[in-house]
């Protein structure tokens, strides 16, 4: 009896507990609600342990066989880390008394988990859109005008990615007759031979993965979400995209180039960005680049590297966002120009932040090191010299924006005079656990390595020289920071907005539209008026026919109706006989 109960429980799609649980949340209030939000991921985590590698759940639907659940090593490791992130984020959000945030966070997490276990493209699409729609409420929950607008832009881009995915899936299905979500790119890893469906799917994944020029939704929206919302957001959307790339596009050569660009360009933006949460968003973008390179190289070692990097990244990036969130929560600002010297007031938060910073910079004995080394070794093994150099440069760049800038300008540096309370206990607890995981994985990576999709034959600490060179890279970079500060070459933090690709759709396009409108009104007034008149006429025509008093909407006289029906009959008969 119990065995069969466990079996039938194991058939439940992962993530469903979270989504269904989220539907209960609106009926609860206050503490109970927040506590259930913490309990849900724990229960779902326990359910995850019932899943066995290799099992699938099929559903006959829509005339096709859908694999709603497919458990393999790749989906399991993402499932595990998504749950870790969900538990930590929920713990961090324990003080939140906002039904919208709790519900959307749980639906968001649940759909991300569901997506990772989706065995076919249709199921993936459904979860894909669900993550987009549910997560936007975490941004809107800031309840400010600018968050509302940023959320709308975010939603349009995310849903657009889903539409591309759906179009790609349809084309792919027409071309191959298969809906299975498996390797989509050909054995040669070339995009030139890939079908249009596959390219569309890659574009959809690329948007969610913040490929260069498709990236700006991330830096635009994440800093505008709520304190806790950003912590949730940072873990799932982009890493779900990394997962889909690992699954569908391993060894796609174009991804190497894309990845390198991704690791490099955000560094420059991060240097001059003033909002520290936005710096973290740029840093997130740069880290994704490492994973994309790993996917592009496509060897077992490289894919392991990408997955391991995603795993540890979720934890330390969450930790960094948590620490900046705590600062924002206590001081009401996350701008570098207004912060500094907070280590007096928030020593524990500062310590956790430093652990996160050292992890992301990949100091030996911290979690970033054991993951990034895999990718770098794979790149070196493949003899991609320039790629390797690019990643090395990016590593030094990470040290700049995340390793130094984040902790330095908030907790150290020039004293802003702000004195506040230390972060609340539950936040400290969440950060403490995350920091502990960063160090534990860094010191003892074996458990992580055994979870990876392929066998790992790599010991990061066996090669002492490697640890040494890494330390050299990072400490010399730190030295350079000291040098620049002492020579006053380091740019001061000033309040500003820096232009990025979002300028295209926030300024340039509106300007073009306005300009065109202006041209229409002034230079070629006649043409403009004509176009306007045509449009107005067309609209009036539609309204005339369809409006409340339109011929199609109003009540006809009985005789009219009967006459009409008989006319239709004659018309039809005429058509039939004169054929």
């Amino acid at each position: 009896m119990t065995a069969s109960a466990a079996e039938s429980l194991a058939l439940l799609p992962p993530g469903l507990i979270l989504i269904l649980g989220a539907l209960v949340l609106p009926f609860l209030r206050g503490r109970v609600q927040a506590a259930l939000t913490l309990l849900l991921p724990l229960v779902s985590f326990a359910h995850l342990s019932l899943l066995s590698d290799g099992s699938t759940t099929n559903l006959e639907a829509l005339g096709a066989s859908l694999t709603v659940v497919r458990v393999d090593r790749l989906s399991l490791i993402f499932g595990i880390v998504f749950h870790i992130a969900a538990v930590l984020s929920a713990l961090y959000a324990l003080h939140v008394r906002d039904t919208t945030q709790h519900v959307s966070a749980m639906v968001y997490v649940g759909s991300a988990v569901g997506a990772v276990f989706a065995g076919d493209l249709v199921t993936l699409f459904i979860y894909w859109e669900l993550t987009a729609v549910s997560s936007v409420f975490l941004i809107w929950a800031s309840r400010s005008e600018c968050a509302t607008r940023a959320g709308l832009r975010y939603l349009v881009i995310q849903v657009g990615s889903g539409v591309l995915l759906l179009a790609g899936v349809v084309l792919h299905y027409r071309a191959t007759g298969s809906l299975e979500f498996t390797r989509l790119i050909g054995e040669d890893g070339s995009l030139a031979t890939a079908g249009p469906g596959v390219l569309l799917i890659l574009a959809a994944f690329g948007i969610k993965c913040a490929f260069p020029l498709m990236h700006n939704w991330l830096q635009d929206a994440y800093p505008k979400a709520t304190v806790t919302g950003t912590v949730f957001l940072s873990a799932f959307t982009t890493k779900l995209a990394v997962y889909t790339l690992v699954r569908g596009f391993p060894g796609t050569e174009a991804l190497i180039g894309i990845g390198v660009v991704m690791t490099l360009f955000p560094i420059f933006f991060a240097v001059i960005e003033n909002d520290l949460r936005k710096v973290l968003a740029y840093s997130l973008n740069n880290q994704l680049g490492f994973m994309v390179v790993g996917v592009g190289v496509g060897t077992e070692l490289a894919l392991n590297g990408a997955v391991a990097h995603a795993f540890v990244h979720i934890i330390y990036k969450g930790l960094l966002f948590m620490s900046m969130g705590a600062v924002l929560y206590r001081t009401q600002t996350s701008k570098a120009s207004e912060l500094g010297g907070l280590y007096r007031s928030m020593p524990l938060t500062a310590a956790c932040c430093v652990v996160g910073a050292m992890s992301i910079s990949a100091f030996p004995l911290f979690s970033g090191f054991v993951a990034k080394s895999l990718t770098l070794s794979a790149v070196a093994e493949g003899h991609h010299v320039w790629v390797w150099l690019g990643l090395l440069a990016a590593s030094a760049g990470v040290m700049e924006h995340s390793g130094i800038k984040i902790p330095f300008f908030s907790f150290f540096g020039h004293d802003s005079g702000i004195r506040c309370k230390e972060a609340p206990v539950h936040m400290l607890l969440a950060m403490g656990i995350a920091a502990f995981l960063c160090i534990a994985i860094g010191c003892y990576p074996t458990p992580l390595y055994t979870l990876l999709p392929f066998e790992v034959d790599y010991a990061p600490y066996a090669d002492l020289g490697h640890c040494l060179t890494q330390l050299q890279l990072l400490l010399f970079a730190a030295l350079a920071f000291g040098f620049l500060m002492r020579t006053r070459l380091y740019p001061p933090e000033v309040p500003s907005v820096n232009l990025d690709s979002d300028w295209i759709y926030r300024r340039w396009l509106p300007r073009i539209v306005r300009a065109v409108g202006g041209v229409g009104a002034e230079a070629s007034a006649a043409l403009g008026a004509l176009a306007g008149r045509w449009l107005a006429l067309a609209l009036r025509g539609v309204h005339l026919l369809h409006g409340p008093r339109g011929v199609l909407a109003r009540t006809w006289s009985t005789g009219g109706i009967a006459l009409w029906a008989i006319l239709c009959l004659f018309g039809y008969l005429l058509l039939a006989f004169t054929r």
Partner: protein, 83 residues
């Protein structure tokens, strides 16, 4: 340098000096250590002693200086998009 700051008052110039030169000393020690321990290199240039250190230093400075230049083109007032 940040990790040292927890211990002492970061603002005091004497401590800052100490930190900086201490860091420089550690860096020097790392290069020496590298010569003693020895390591294998995948690419020939990578084997040069102190390569990583110089590379890290150079990249860092370059990134910051380029970033500074970029600011001239990219910087706008905070309410730029709201206007």
């Amino acid at each position: 340098m940040n990790e040292g700051a927890k211990r002492g008052m970061f603002e005091e110039p004497r401590n800052v000096d100490r930190l900086f030169w201490g860091l420089a000393a550690v860096c020097g020690a790392l290069v020496v250590l590298e010569l003693i321990v020895g390591r294998h290199a995948e690419f020939p240039f990578e084997g040069w002693p102190g390569f990583y250190g110089v590379f890290g230093f150079a990249v860092f400075v370059t990134v910051v200086l380029i970033g500074k230049r970029l600011r001239r083109f990219l910087r706008r007032e905070e309410d730029y998009y709201d206007r």
